[in-house]
């Protein structure tokens, strides 16, 4: 780490010494985990297995990797020293982002056309969009208002279970349940937020984490209410204006209405466009909120809470609004999730889900709408690409989270610029 700070090059012995110490640490770390393991095959008692070749390989990789890292770092430092830091091109990059944004919307609209017979691709794209929507919802809380929420999945679960229960118990349709579930989720957001929002950042994080776990534990244990670990199945799929995407001949079939051939892909396309519409509406809504006094106040509270209080802004109400709106958006996403899966169980709402959504927001760059899309693509597609080595997926996921944070602590698209900038009384640069 020090090598990056100093500009003068290290001598070869220094380099080797540095790489040797890294390799030595790698050896110490590797002995109990890679070098030794226990198995219980063939008997009741554990037996120790040794894997020295794997350990040797690991240590060698660390040694060579460290040497390579030094060279790369020095090259980068030299380049940076030669070229003075250029001023960030703010206006140009934001225009570029707008163009990319519209191109992204266009590409998203064309996904079902491009993959019209690829069920897997459309499904995956739908999953990406669910995470985009969740990311945009959480972005209100974390990115704009600066409140760290580690239990966001609780609101997602509240939305999903509200729809599941309303539809299976009371026969409500998707469109009837959607606003109600959003409202219920927002209500839960207020319930959690009201007593806890005066806490400082890290404490708030842990309280929200605890809240998320409480919701999950209740869903697991209150069997008569939520079906317990078995969850709720046979949740009805969403329809359109009272018509359903069911085979011809059945009641209210869209295929019969429009006199077209039925294909099961139609429902997938419909679900895809539905979540796309929901996500885009979320985006428009959040963009709109940012221009309102409440939205402006979110960013102000994030930057300096004490200054806000001094200006007479009721920070509790502002934070509560962020919490409720974030929760509501999470609830909407939950309704869609339940409707799409047709089956939900507490398994889908664990802490790691919260961590993934938070990672999307933070890795994307807090407050950046585009960053959320980029991070969702990376975090959903990367594990899918890595399917062949499935057991390493989460391992790589965790490592990627650490490395991206160390590499760019502000996120991939660092964007903490306030929406409003004071430019002086006559509009000249102050």
């Amino acid at each position: 780490m020090q090598a990056a700070a100093t500009t003068h090059a290290m001598t070869l012995p220094q380099r080797l010494k540095d790489a040797f110490s890294v390799a030595f640490i790698a050896l110490l770390l590797g002995i109990p985990m890679i070098g030794l393991t226990t198995t219980d095959e063939g008997g009741t008692a554990l037996k120790v297995l040794t894997r020295w070749p794997a350990l040797a390989l690991f240590v060698a990789i660390c040694f060579v990797g460290r040497l390579a890292l030094q060279v790369v770092r020095e090259a980068l430092a030299r380049r940076r020293a030669r070229r003075p830091a250029k001023a960030p091109a703010q206006a140009g990059s934001s225009r570029l982002l707008t163009v990319i944004g519209w191109a992204g919307v266009g590409a998203a609209l064309l996904v079902p056309v491009a993959f019209s017979d690829n069920r897997y691709a459309v499904d995956l794209a739908t999953t990406v969009l669910i995470y985009v929507m969740l990311g945009w919802g959480l972005n209100v809380v974390v990115g704009l208002a600066g409140l760290l929420d580690l239990g966001y999945v609780a609101f997602y679960a509240v939305g999903a279970y509200t729809y599941a229960l309303l539809s299976t118990q009371l026969g409500w349709s998707f469109w009837q349940a959607l606003p109600v579930a959003g409202g219920v989720a927002a209500f839960f957001g207020v319930i959690l937020g009201y007593p806890t929002l005066r806490l400082r950042g890290d404490y708030l994080a842990i309280v929200t984490l605890g809240f998320g776990e409480i919701i999950r534990l209740i869903l697991v244990n209150w069997t008569s209410f939520s079906g317990g670990p078995n969850g709720i199945s046979e949740i009805p799929r969403p329809g359109l204006f009272g018509y359903n995407f069911t085979p011809p001949g059945s009641e209210h079939s869209i295929a019969d209405l429009l006199q077209i051939d039925y294909s099961p892909m139609q429902r997938l396309f419909f679900l895809y466009y539905l979540i796309l519409a929901l996500a885009l509406l979320t985006n428009l809504f959040v963009r709109g909120m940012r221009k309102l006094p409440t939205g402006r106040a979110w960013e102000a509270v994030r930057e300096d809470e004490i200054a806000c209080k001094a200006l007479g802004i009721n920070t509790t109400h502002i934070k509560l609004a962020a919490f409720a709106i974030g929760a509501m958006l999470g609830g909407f996403a939950g309704v869609f999730f339940a409707a799409r899966q047709g089956f939900i169980s507490p398994e889908s709402f664990t802490f790691s889900e919260s961590a993934i959504i938070l990672a999307i927001v933070v890795l994307g760059g807090m407050g950046s709408q585009m960053g959320v899309v980029l991070a969702s693509l990376v975090l959903v597609l990367l594990p899918e690409l890595g399917r062949d080595f499935a057991q390493y997926r989460m391992l790589l996921f965790g490592a990627a989270m650490v490395l991206i944070m160390v590499w760019r602590p502000g996120g991939i698209l660092a964007h903490r610029a306030p929406t409003l900038v004071y430019t002086g009384p006559k509009g000249d640069q102050a």
Partner: protein, 304 residues
């Protein structure tokens, strides 16, 4: 009555373990003001190292229980503290100067990484070890219920008390302890006085990891089984303990651990075993609502 005393014993044992882990949270929070999210997984790594060491010792035919325990403790503390050091060096030190969220995210990433690393290298199955201490003392019998104090429980409580005594001495009496406390108060001034702040923080992480490793060994001996997922829930409960006692306060961490352990035992025995985790989380929320500085914590003044 007899059952209550039994639960008291069980709760104190559990609480001692939580307290040992909570110290790691509270020290790290005290010195760099961040939640070491991977601490629960460091404890899990310690427990796995304990399983491997016990199995190795059994394979070499070591039959002396005190020697085996001591050897495993030393090995587990040594290797786990290297893990603590590495986690700080890789995931936290580069982010010390950046915004508050960044180290938390990298800590969550580290936690996911450690959990899956152990799953990949050690296997996803539950690891059982041969019971090491099986004896116990029957304290008294009331009706059909016999109150029993197991040897493992004595071991855990005695070890914890001894460690706490040693640890308190380290922090209050030694030169390192003074440097550590100075660092907690003001890192810049500590640096100006010529102390190596990076080294103090590293050692703090190693001490926290070492105590977590002791907790890992104790739990391995107590329950006899370990799996790669134990770090998460125990980590959160230990953090709850640290917050309950007042984060940054070392006696507070131990006190908080004992309270959480007792509440969990009694809740599971008298109310409902399914909701015992809800009890811990609910305590956490209630404490933060009504006494955010914890039982023994100092009130903190927010500066502009």
């Amino acid at each position: 009555m007899a059952q209550a005393i039994q639960q008291l014993i069980n709760g104190l044992t559990l609480g001692a373990v939580y307290g040992l882990i909570a110290i790691g949270y509270t020290m790290v929070y005290g010195i760099i003001g961040m939640i070491n999210f991977a601490h629960g997984d460091i404890y899990m790594v310690g427990a796995f190292i304990a399983v491997t060491s016990f199995t190795l010792l059994a394979a070499f035919g070591v039959s002396s229980v005190p020697f085996a325990l001591l050897a495993v403790l030393v090995v587990a503390i040594a290797f786990t503290s290297v893990y603590g050091w590495a986690v700080e060096r890789i995931a936290y030190r580069p982010l010390r100067a950046s915004n508050r969220l960044a180290p938390l995210i990298s800590a969550i990433g580290m936690s996911i990484f450690l959990e899956n690393m152990v799953q990949v290298t050690q296997g996803a199955r539950i690891k059982p070890i041969r019971p090491i201490l099986t004896g116990g003392i029957n304290l008294f019998t009331q009706g059909t219920f016999t109150v029993r104090l197991f040897e493992t429980q004595i071991l855990i409580i005695v070890t914890t008390v001894a460690l706490m005594a040693g640890f308190t001495w380290l922090i209050t009496r030694t030169s390192f302890g003074r440097q550590q406390r100075a660092c907690e108060q003001d890192q810049v001034v500590t640096k100006v006085l010529g102390y190596n702040v990076d080294r103090i923080i590293s050692v703090t992480f190693m001490i926290g990891a070492g105590l977590a490793a002791v907790a890992g060994v104790m739990v391995t001996v107590y329950y006899g089984v370990v799996d790669f997922f134990i770090g998460f829930v125990v980590g959160i409960k230990a953090f709850t303990a640290a917050v309950l006692g007042g984060i940054g306060s070392l006696p507070g961490a131990m006190l908080g651990g004992l309270i959480i352990g007792l509440v969990e035992s009694f809740w599971a025995a008298y109310l409902s075993a399914e909701y015992k985790d809800v009890a811990s989380f609910a305590i956490l929320i209630l404490v933060l609502m009504f006494r955010p500085t914890g039982l023994l914590g100092r009130p903190e003044v927010e500066k502009v």
